[in-house]
Amino acid sequence: MPIFFREPRWNPQRELEQLQRRMDRVFQDAFGLEGRPRRAGVYPLVNISEDPDHIYVRAELPGVRAENLEITLQDNSLILRGERKIPAEEKQVNYHRRERESGFFRRVMPLPAMVQGDKVEATCKDGILTITMAKPEAVKPRKIEVKVA
């Protein structure tokens, strides 16, 4: 008799792996994780990017004014302190929704590469803080030419 359908042997290992993958997807969908574990979240969350010459640290800080920000570079760590103030509205207002939060923050983040302490710039635009740090010459990628013998 030909075999049309073969029941695969039960494989607990594979079942667990499938479950793991499904759970990962559930968490990605529910919490917007980008397929990687999120670090202990300290406000403000930052994105770090780089190009050959610079390291960029960006944070979403809508409504935070430059004078309420304090940025320090120490031992190749970046310290970001500040306060988000939401100006009080007139007394007779009544709220329907109040989701925006005010308060202070202090965060330290180690930088992924060495930077030159004297070449750091910070700008605030449309509620996004961008800190631009220059990499020292030693860590910049260099093109090495191959000489023809």
């Binding site: 979240g41 994105n47 990017s49 202070f104």
Partner: protein, 133 residues
């Protein structure tokens, strides 16, 4: 007021309603909505959105705010560590019929949208004089 430490939060994504033309993700901005005797004010956090990229759409009593973000990275940049998600912002509101739809002011500053909507003047009691013919 006591000092409060801000907590990091993951952004909430807008549930998909049909396909979008623009690629990328869309998030729900945090808003404050409050009323004064004359106005209804909506304040929304939309970091990365500049003033000319805000779309306000008012259809009947449905207000949609949409903010399109600029390019998140400069040319030649690559992401090393990503903690917050990047995307546009959208949120829909159902307004009471009390809004004067021709009088809506919008200001975008430092990634915060402030929308001031004026309430319709309620029918004021009027005295009707009876002229003697």
């Amino acid at each position: 007021m006591t000092e409060k430490e801000l907590q990091a939060k993951a952004k909430e994504e807008v549930p998909a309603k049909g396909e979008r033309v623009r690629p990328g993700r869309v998030f729900v901005p945090a808003v404050d909505i409050f009323e004064t005797p004359e106005t209804l004010v909506l304040v929304a956090d939309m970091p990365g959105v500049s003033g000319d990229k805000v779309t306000l759409d008012l259809k009947e009593n449905y207000l949609t705010i949409y903010g399109e973000i600029g390019p998140p990275l400069g040319p030649g940049e690559t992401m090393v560590e990503q903690e917050y998600s990047i995307g546009d912002f959208q949120r829909d509101f159902h307004l009471g019929s009390l809004i004067d739809q021709s009088k809506i002011e919008a200001i975008m500053k430092d990634g915060v949208l402030r929308l001031v909507m004026h309430k319709v003047e309620k029918a004021k009691p009027r005295k009707i004089e009876v002229k003697v013919g």
